[in-house]
């Protein structure tokens, strides 16, 4: 599909035409085949149409009613129509078989050694879990940022906690709906390191537009480092300001929804904040994770993302400064 990829803006981190993994690459091949066949058929059909319209132009006053047709011309037309239908059927079979082959390949991906990642859709953010069967207490929970090792098959095990969402990172794999009441598994693999963006593709309510996530693909070593860091409980505050910040967190409404492992905050309504500062965005990919954005988000998330489940908070200026200082330490 070099044609489209050459247009500026196409080789981006959220397009199916710039595959970063085998699944998206297979799909892109079928896409290219269908594109070239249909584009050719389209132009030929319309060229034929316009040729006849132009060469058979007449005016209403002069044209006989009805135009007498000869058997010979109708026989020719019959043959032409039959041939065109036959070609249509043939081309459809080509595209159909290509489509079947691709479907088959997507289903055949190696799932034996796949790394399982649980993805739960929420209005309007993504809960990400790395289950750890050997040591369940070391299960990693994060939000909106999925770290994966490159070249390793991954099984996304997904469902929804509320309404229907659709998990879609087009550079890597086609979309899959996350349905409440159903569990779904989709296999994928990322071969190119990078930050691949994905977004909810099924309309899920007011902030559907602001429900994105990143797949951070990195070499195995980096991934292992990240994973072992995430397995740790949250850091113990190292200075007075951060200690007070933690007290602010634990004595405000924050604890009603959020978890910080290593503290008494253990609710699962909102994103797990144990390693908040290690994530590059907040509010499901909407805002860069800076102190300013975080402060604004805590005080009045409704102004930034109307309808989101994060309520406005009444926190005094000094308390907010300390709280932010504490959250900044949660690497």
């Amino acid at each position: 599909m070099s044609l489209l990829a050459a247009i500026p803006g196409f080789p981006s981190n959220q397009t199916s035409l710039n595959p970063a993994g085998p699944a998206a690459a297979h799909i892109e091949h079928t896409f290219a085949l269908i594109f070239w066949i249909t584009a050719t058929v389209y132009f030929i059909t319309l060229a034929v149409l316009m040729y006849f319209v132009w060469s058979r132009r007449w005016t209403l006053a002069l044209a006989p009613i009805p135009q007498p047709t000869s058997d010979a011309s109708d026989r020719l037309a019959t043959r032409a129509v039959a041939a065109a239908v036959a070609v249509t059927v043939l081309l459809l079979f080509v595209m159909l078989i290509s489509s079947f082959v691709t479907s088959h390949r997507l289903g055949k991906m190696n799932d034996q050694q796949a790394l399982t990642i649980n993805v739960y859709g929420h209005q309007w953010w993504w809960e990400i879990q790395y289950p750890n069967e050997a040591e369940p207490y070391r299960m990693v929970t994060t939000a909106n940022e999925i770290h994966v090792p490159i070249g390793t098959p991954i099984r996304i095990h997904g469902t929804s906690r509320d309404v229907i969402h659709s998990f879609w990172a087009p550079n890597i794999q086609g979309k899959r709906d996350l349905l409440p009441g159903y569990n779904t598994d989709v296999l994928m693999q990322v071969d190119k390191a990078g930050r691949w963006r994905g977004q909810c593709a099924e309309y899920c309510g007011m902030q559907h537009a602001h429900m994105s996530f990143y797949i951070v693909a990195e070499p195995q070593q980096d991934f292992d480092n990240w994973m072992s860091a995430q397995m740790q409980p949250s850091v113990v505050p190292g200075n007075i300001q951060a200690m007070h910040g933690q007290q602010v967190f634990l004595s405000h409404a924050c604890v009603l929804c959020h978890t910080i492992r290593g503290t008494t905050a253990g609710s699962h309504v909102g994103p797990d904040l144990t390693h908040l500062a290690s994530r590059s965005t907040i509010a499901a990919g909407m805002l860069p994770n800076t102190v300013g954005n975080l402060g604004g988000w805590i005080l009045n998330a409704q102004a930034l993302k109307p309808g989101s489940r994060m309520p406005p908070n009444q926190i005094s200026g000094p308390d907010l400064q300390d709280l932010l200082a504490y959250l900044e330490t949660l690497k």
Binding site: G9, L49, P64, Q67, A77, K175, L179, G181, Y203
Partner: protein, 645 residues
């Protein structure tokens, strides 16, 4: 015996003038304010359908304009998230339920089918009036709710659980669900009327293989309406029951199923698309034949394509649900079924091209719209193949690529033929011609504007922009394409404005049309323009597929109908041999009152399920009034029964 020969304009004899005056008297429509609500003639009701559906088209188009302003800039605050979500839902629901189906199926078939088959009114004319009022009341309810900030906001298919009681508080989704009930009952009523008209009221000689292609199209759509609409009435009623009646059909927490809703919805939803564009293709067949000056090439292929499209339409609903995770064997089946639809569609297109290639092409405005249809609709068909292929669909589903695809299919397959149809039949309906020059300018504005608006949506969709987002970040590379799309909207806006200006001007100062300005071949052109309320002075008989082109020099007409009542000839289904006489009911206020009573019940049930329980009482009363027997009519019926023995 008189002739319906094509070019003959003959002064009426004295006896005929008397006959015309008598028919005028018998078929007159009541006048005055109350009389307006009593009208039952199909041209009267048909015109109301056209005007009403066009108004909804304009409103939904304006909503689209607001959305285009919002999307022209990233992170724009022109519309809030809540407003935008209401706007796109109202836009989609209005276009689908209040414009496309009522216009393409109900309006066109109610006005044209009885004329084209050569009868005096549509079957069940009072039911026809009732269905129109239900449609209007449903639309009014929907928009009153919208202006009270209770506009539906869950998308035109209102998936559960998003539209269920837990996630959609308030009454927004309930009004949406009841809009469905209103419009679908209206559609079902018209489907029954059209089928009975087509199969029992055709002019003698119009055997099945001579039915005009337009009428075939509408008859097949009527069948599809009857098989598809009950599914959505079921799903929207279950949704309403979940919301107001405490049932749990779609609540997974207690064993309900969210996918059940999708299956029911798309069992309707996919045929819905076809019952929007099949009338469009039926219009194209008509216009292509008239402006190629020959019988449509491949009549049998065209009819069988319509029939097979109608059947296939019910076999591919799952391609709207590929992303939900379908077993591979089912994926393969639905991919194959979806691609198969290209075969009958392709056959139709090739037949039209063959008609043009072997005829003499007259490039009048309706023909321009049909040429536009070819460019746009075929493109929509081509992108349909992407959507039919499961793996590719998983990438383009729910993105702007799909938005582009269905606008190419629906605007290409319905709106282009519709403007062609409005231009083509305007002289018949009003007696005056539209301006060719203004018509062609508005065509070009629309054609260019359409492509500028919707072609970039393919690209922005492939670049990863999902549909139904109220805004997007600035750094995604979507901004420029969205701005181009918004500029295209201005062309579309101007085109429709110019078209309305053309209509307004021509109503006053357009050239007089005469009975048959296009020298066309179907029966509606055999009567004066606009047609009298009795449609034809002499009910025609038919010799061939294009009744007027194939008429013998002394084509016989029907005689022997009663002159003291709304008498009508019934014919046999297959060969259209005369079978008997029947009588149409006359004007009545009861259909209007029954529609009011029905609407009260439906609107009340938005608020409480008891609305239906108590609402049935006034419905029953008005229905009793409606069906109260009239002695003279009963006597005449008895006489006819004796006569027919």
């Amino acid at each position: 015996m008189t002739s319906t020969s094509l070019l003959e304009t003959r002064a009426l004899s004295e006896a005929e003038q008397k006959q015309a005056a008598q028919l005028e008297y018998i078929w007159r429509e009541p006048t005055g304010f109350i009389g307006w609500f009593k009208a039952v003639h199909h041209t009267t009701i048909g015109m109301r359908y056209v005007v009403t559906a066009f108004c909804f088209f304009l409103i939904a188009g304006l909503l689209a304009g607001a959305m285009r302003i919002q999307l022209a800039f990233p992170e724009s605050h022109f519309l809030s998230a809540d407003k935008y979500n209401q706007f796109f839902t109202m836009h989609g629901s209005t276009m689908m339920f209040l414009f496309a189906v009522p216009m393409m199926f109900e309006a066109l078939s109610v006005y044209l089918v009885p004329l084209m088959v050569g009868t005096r009114n549509i079957a069940f004319p009072r039911l026809n009036a009732y269905s129109y009022y239900l449609y209007v009341f449903g639309g009014i309810m929907f928009f009153v709710a919208f202006f009270c900030n209770t506009g539906a906001d869950n998308g035109w298919f209102s998936y559960v659980p998003l539209a269920g009681p837990d996630f959609a508080p308030g009454k927004r989704a309930d009004f949406w669900a009841q809009l469905i009930t209103f419009t679908e009952i209206s559609g079902l009523c018209v489907a029954v009327e059209v089928l009975v008209t087509v199969f029992k009221l055709r002019a003698p000689g119009m055997s099945l293989n001579r039915i005009p292609l337009f009428v075939w199209g509408q008859a097949i759509v009527a069948f599809m309406v009857i098989f598809s609409l009950p599914a959505i009435m079921l799903s929207s009623t279950m949704l309403l029951l979940d919301r107001t009646g405490g049932t749990q059909f779609f609540n997974p927490a207690v064993g309900g199923d969210v996918l059940l809703y999708q299956h029911l919805f798309w069992w309707f939803g996919h045929p819905e698309v076809y019952l929007i564009f099949l009338p469009g293709t039926a219009v194209v067949s008509t216009i292509v034949a008239t402006f190629s000056r020959r019988h449509a090439f491949g009549y049998l292929v065209l009819v069988l394509s319509l029939v097979s499209t109608g059947f296939l339409a019910f076999g591919l609903w799952v391609h709207h649900m590929f992303a939900t995770g379908i077993p591979q064997i089912a994926e393969s089946y639905f991919t194959a079924a979806s691609m198969m639809i290209a075969i009958p569609s392709g056959a139709q297109i090739f037949c039209w091209i063959a008609t043009l290639a072997t005829g003499r092409v007259v490039l009048k405005t309706p023909m321009w719209w049909v040429l536009g249809f070819f460019f746009v609709f075929i493109m929509g068909g081509m992108t349909g193949i992407f959507v039919a292929s499961v793996p590719v669909d998983l990438q383009v589903h729910d993105t702007y690529f799909v938005v582009a695809h269905f606008h190419y299919v629906l605007i290409g397959g319905a709106v282009f033929p519709l403007f062609g149809a409005l231009t083509y039949w305007f002289p018949k309906v009003t007696g005056r011609m539209l301006s060719e020059k203004l018509g062609q300018i508005s065509f070009w504005l629309f054609f260019i504007g359409f492509n500028v608006t919707f072609f970039p949506m393919h690209l922005v969709g492939l670049r990863g922009m999902p549909r139904r987002v109220y805004t997007y970040p600035a750094n995604m590379g979507w901004t420029l394409l969205n701005q181009i799309e918004s500029i295209g909207y201005i062309f579309l806006f101007l085109s429709v404005l110019l078209f309305m200006g053309n209509v307004y001007r021509s109503l006053r100062r357009g050239a007089l049309a005469g009975p048959n300005p296009w020298l066309a071949g179907t029966l509606e052109w055999a009567t004066s323009s606009p047609p009298p309320k009795y449609n034809f002075l002499h009910l025609p008989t038919v010799n061939g597929r294009e009744a007027l082109w194939d008429a013998a020099p002394n084509q016989p007409v029907v005689a022997g109908l009663d002159e003291d009542c709304r008498s009508v000839l019934t014919t046999r289904t297959l060969d259209a041999e005369p079978e008997g006489k029947d009588e149409f009911p006359g004007p009545s206020i009861w259909p209007f009152l029954a529609a009011v009573a029905t609407s009260i019940a439906f609107v009340a049930s938005v608020f409480t399920p008891w609305g239906i329980t108590f609402g049935t009482i006034p419905i029953a009363i008005t229905m009793i009034g409606w069906f109260w027997p009239v002695k003279q009519a009963a006597d005449r019926r008895r006489e006819r029964e004796i006569w027919s023995k």
